[in-house]
C-alpha cells in the first residue's frame, strides 16, 4: 500500500462521482424522501412507531446505498479492463480497496449528516444520545456496505448479476436485524444467525443512541463487530482481485 496511490485513487473515484450529478443527488435525497415518507405514514397513528424504526433505518440506508454503488462501480472496473491495467502498475490491491472506502465513505458521511439532520429537525425524531455518535454509526454502516459491495462484485460477471446481489446480501440481513421482529423473539436458529450478521449490530447501535443518554459503552462493542466485518470483507474482497487471470 502507498498513501499517494490510495489518495489518488480516492480522488479519481470522487471526480467520477462529481461528474455524475444525478447519482450524487439520488444518494443524498433518496434516504431523506424515504424518512419523510415514513414519518408521514405514521404521523396520525398512536404508538410512536417512527421513533422506534426511524433510527434503525438511518443505519440501513447508508449500508444499502453504498453496497449498490460500490458493487456496480468495482464491477465496471473489472469489465472495462481498467482493473487489469491498474494491476500491471505499482497500485496495490489495498490501495484500490481503501481508495474506494475513502471515496464512498466521504459520500456516506455527507449522506448520514443530511439524513440525520432531516430526521431530527424536520421529522421530529427524538434522539436521547449524542447526534455525532449517530453519524459515526451511519458511517460504519456505509463502510460495511462498501466492503460487502466490493466482495460481492467479485462474484458478479455482469451488472445484472451485481444488482441481484443487493437483495441476496441485504434483504436477509434486513429481515433478521430486529426491525420487523425483535431479535430475541425470533426462532432460536434465526436468532443465532442474526447474532452473526453485521446489520443487526448496526441497528442495535442506532437504537442504543436513540434511547440512551450515554450509550457509548453499549455502542462500542457493536461498532467493534461491524469493524470486524469490514476488515474481513475487505480481506476476502482483495482475494478476488487477481493480477494474473486465466
Amino acid at each position: 500500500m502507498n498513501a499517494r496511490i490510495t489518495l489518488a485513487t480516492a480522488a479519481r473515484i470522487l471526480r467520477q462521482l462529481r461528474g455524475d450529478h444525478r447519482t450524487v443527488a439520488l444518494m443524498i435525497l433518496v434516504p431523506v424522501v424515504l424518512l419523510g415518507l415514513l414519518a408521514w405514514i405514521y404521523a396520525d397513528l398512536p404508538g410512536d412507531v417512527f421513533n422506534r424504526i426511524g433510527p434503525a433505518l438511518l443505519g440501513v440506508f447508508p449500508f444499502v446505498v453504498m453496497f449498490i454503488v460500490t458493487s456496480i462501480a468495482t464491477l465496471r472496473e473489472r469489465t472495462s479492463g481498467t482493473l487489469e491495467r491498474l494491476l500491471t502498475t505499482p497500485l496495490g490491491k489495498g490501495d484500490l480497496m481503501v481508495g474506494y472506502a475513502l471515496a464512498f465513505g466521504s459520500m456516506a458521511f455527507l449522506q448520514a449528516v443530511v439524513a440525520t439532520g432531516f430526521a431530527v429537525w424536520v421529522c421530529g425524531l427524538e434522539i436521547a444520545g449524542p447526534l455525532g455518535l449517530l453519524v459515526v454509526v451511519a458511517l460504519f454502516d456505509a463502510l460495511l456496505g462498501t466492503a460487502l459491495g466490493l466482495l460481492a462484485s467479485g462474484f458478479a460477471r455482469t451488472e445484472f448479476q451485481a444488482v441481484q446481489f443487493m437483495p441476496a446480501f441485504v434483504l436477509p440481513q434486513f429481515l433478521l436485524c430486529g426491525l420487523l421482529v425483535p431479535r430475541e423473539l425470533l426462532p432460536p436458529a434465526l436468532e443465532a444467525i442474526s447474532d452473526v450478521l453485521p446489520l443487526s449490530y448496526a441497528v442495535d447501535a442506532m437504537k442504543d443512541v436513540t434511547v440512551q443518554t450515554d450509550p457509548l459503552s453499549d455502542v462500542l462493542p457493536s461498532l467493534g463487530v461491524i469493524a470486524l466485518w469490514i476488515v474481513l470483507s475487505l480481506a476476502l474482497g482483495s482475494l478476488t482481485l487477481r493480477r494474473r487471470t486465466p
Binding site: R4, I5, A8, T9, A11, R12, R15, Q16, G19, D20, S80, G81, T82, E84, R85, L86, L87, T88, T89, P90, L91, R243, R244, T245, P246
Partner: protein, 249 residues
Amino acid sequence: MTNISPDNSIVVEHLRVVRGDREVLPDLSVTVPRGQVIGLLGPSGGGKSTLMRAVVGVQVIAGGTVSVLGEEAGSPALRQRVGYLTQAPSVYGDLTVRDNVRYFGRVIGVGGDAADRAIEAVALTDHAEALVENLSGGQWSRANLACTLVGDPEVLVLDEPTVGLDPVLRRDLWDLFRRLAGDGRTVLVSSHVMDEAVRCDRLLLLREGVILSDSTLPELLERTGTTDAEQAFLALIDEAAARDGGAAA
C-alpha cells in the same frame, strides 16, 4: 541462459499457456532485443494477445518462463518499467482525457507535466478537457495509449495500438514508436495490418501459437522470394498449413 544479457529486454523460454481446454501457446521461445520496435503479426486467434499478456504478467501460465529486463514478468519491480496497452480501451469514460492520464501518472509516480507530454504525444492536447466517452473511437484509443506512455516505461507492450486510426495518425504513432526505440525503449507492437511491418526492426509471425518467423523484413522477403510483407506472410502461412495438412494425412 545465454539469452539473459543486457541487450535483451524480453526473454521467453518454453512458454506454455492453456486457456479453457485450448492450448493457446504450446511451447514458445523468443528473445526480444532492447531498443527495437518488434512487430508481432499474424492471424487473429493466433496467440498474439496471450503472449503480450504473459509478457506483462497478467496471464496465468502453465509452464516455461518469461523474463523482462532480467526480472520475472509481472514482478513488482517491473510495474513502473513496463507499460501495457490492452486491445480494448481501458480508460474511464466518465473522466476527461487529462484526468485519466493524470490518474494513471500519479499511480506510477509522475506529475502533471508528464501527463501533458503524454497527451501531446498522441495529439490529443486539443481534446484534453473532453470526457473520454464523448470522443471518437480513434481518439478514445489514443487516450488509452497516453495512459500507457505517461510513465515513460522502458518496455512498451502495445496490443493493436493503431487499429481504427486514419493513415496520418497511424504514421504519427509509428514515428513515435520509432523515436521511443531510438531512446532505448523496447516496443512490442501487435498488428494485423501488414503494411505496418516496414516500420518494425524485427517481425514475429505467430500462427496457432507457433512462431513461423522471427527475422527482419529484408531477411523474410529473401527467404520467401516475395516483394512485400503481406505476400511473405501469406507464403509462410500457406507453407505451414501445407505442413500441418501433410502431417495430418
